[in-house]
């Protein structure tokens, strides 16, 4: 019963956001400012995590495949792993932790301190003015951060190849380009766009659920991270299966 009520609430929330979509052009300055805030704020953690992710993948690929495949495959392993799976997924999970909780806490604080009510009394629609720009911002910023992260992972793999594995950089780069399929790159962008929408919707939804005081804001922020992480993992499989079977 509780699960049904949750799904109902979330559906109504998404419907309220969709109703405002035709007026999205009037909040473009807010969207740009949110994309900037979100992008700059999350860039360092994405760069560092995916750099080391690429580094470790290159090392493991070399270790597991020693004696079986030529060194040119190291670059291919890093490219395939991050374009198909790890790039969007790691970025999605990192943002599900960082951005979802920040959105839930920010909007939750506005809710419990009556700032959302105040907007309504000023005839300002909070769904249009506060919620929509943030969801659009996560939709735009997540694929951009994913692309940047994927490049960082490939650089990380290259650093590992050149320093620890003593592979010629030209061979590593050749491996990155080897069997490159544009559909895989497009797939990673579609996945990350879906993750962006999930992160934006879940963060703002839980923020708007906050009521009472600071305790409720904390609770909503924590719950939002759990929900967004689970949904990111779930949709990683759903979108992956759809993309690779039907495109």
């Amino acid at each position: 019963m509780k699960a049904l009520s949750y799904v109902g609430e979330l559906t109504l929330f998404i419907w309220e956001v969709l109703k405002r979509l035709p007026r999205v052009f009037s909040v473009i300055p807010s969207i740009i400012s949110e994309v900037w805030k979100l992008g700059v704020g999350s860039l360092s953690i994405i760069l560092i995590t995916l750099f080391f992710g690429g580094f470790a993948t290159a090392y493991q690929a070399a270790f597991q495949g020693r004696g079986y495949f030529p060194e040119v495959y190291i670059g291919m392993a890093v490219a395939k792993a991050f374009l198909i799976m790890l790039g969007p997924l790691l970025t999605g999970l990192l943002l599900a932790g960082k951005v979802t909780s920040a959105l839930a806490a920010e909007i939750g604080s506005m809710k419990v301190t009556e700032q959302i009510d105040a907007l309504e009394t000023l005839a300002i629609d909070p769904y249009h003015y506060i919620i929509l720009p943030r969801i659009m911002a996560t939709l735009i910023a997540t694929p951009i951060l994913t692309m940047v992260g994927e490049v960082s992972a490939m650089i990380g793999g290259g650093v590992c190849a050149a320093t620890l594995l003593h592979i010629k950089l030209i061979n590593y780069i050749e491996g990155l380009r080897f069997n490159f399929l544009p559909i895989e790159f497009a797939g990673s962008l579609v996945k990350s766009a879906v993750f962006g929408v999930i992160i934006g919707i879940i963060g703002t939804f839980y923020g708007m659920k906050a009521m009472g005081g600071a305790e409720s804001v904390g609770k909503c922020a924590t719950q939002s991270v759990v929900a967004a992480s689970v949904l990111v993992l779930l949709f990683d499989n759903v979108v992956g299966v759809l993309m690779f079977n039907y495109l």
Binding site: T121, L122, I124
Partner: protein, 245 residues
């Protein structure tokens, strides 16, 4: 004019409003008085359309806002403004942006005009020079003044105050009371104030409505209030006399 008719509202098992009937006269200050938790803020939030009643009606200039479409409700809200108990200023915006927020969103005025309007409204509430400050840099009384300036920027017909003096020291509270009275006189507003503070009530009220057990148990002016035989009002007045010495 605002007319509340047989308003009921429950939160779970808690039946907060049990048939409230009230008329708010034009261009006067009506104080809704009552103990904490009696449902004063709930009533105020119904009047501005933030809450929907279980039953009953609220007529604002002849339109029943409990049955109004969202477009009608937005139009009515443009005639109203509310000053919240905690001021509810947007943390992320400086004072001048807070004051002109609604004008920026609705009227798309250029920044120069917005800054001028902010300066004018802040001068009205004796906060000139605070335009660039952030809400976190303001004291409770200053926040309240900025919240009043934000409400005035809409040039509302109806101005609603939720506990305007709660949490303020007596001197600041009295200054806010005098400011409300003066603004109402100068601008000819219809004001509704929800409070449990008798000092505030006696300073500003043209009409007093006492809310108890979910109903309005008294309506009248200050003199009628002071001579009322209702036990709860007598109790209130006795406590007020004791605290004033």
């Amino acid at each position: 004019m605002i007319e509340v008719k047989d308003l009921h509202k429950s939160f779970g098992d808690n039946h907060v409003l049990r048939g409230v009937n009230l008329i708010i006269p034009e261009k006067k200050i009506t104080v809704i008085l009552g103990r904490s938790g009696v449902g004063k803020s709930v009533l105020l939030k119904h009047i501005i359309g933030l809450l929907k009643p279980d039953s009953g009606n609220i007529f604002i200039d002849g339109i029943d806002i409990t049955r109004a479409s969202s477009k009608q409700l937005w139009n009515i809200r443009r005639k109203m403004a509310m000053v919240f108990q905690g001021s509810a200023l947007l943390d992320s915006s400086p004072v001048w942006e807070n004051v002109t927020l609604a004008l920026r969103v609705h009227d798309h005025l250029p920044e120069e005009n917005l800054r001028r309007i902010a300066r004018d409204k802040l001068t009205l509430v004796e906060m000139a020079g605070s335009e660039e400050l952030m809400p976190s840099e303001l004291s409770g009384g200053m926040k309240k003044r900025v919240a009043i300036a934000r409400a005035l920027a809409m040039e509302p017909k109806y101005l609603l105050f939720d506990e305007p003096t709660t949490g303020l020291d007596p001197l600041t509270a009295q200054k806010i009371n005098e400011l409300i009275k003066e603004l109402q006189k100068t601008l000819g507003l219809t004001a509704i104030i929800v409070t449990h503070d008798l000092q505030c009530t006696f300073t500003v009220a043209d009409k007093i409505a006492m809310l108890a057990e979910g109903k309005i148990i008294f309506e009248g002016d200050i003199e009628e209030f002071k001579t009322s035989n209702i036990p709860l009002i007598k109790q209130y007045l006795a406590t007020f006399s004791i605290t004033r010495g």
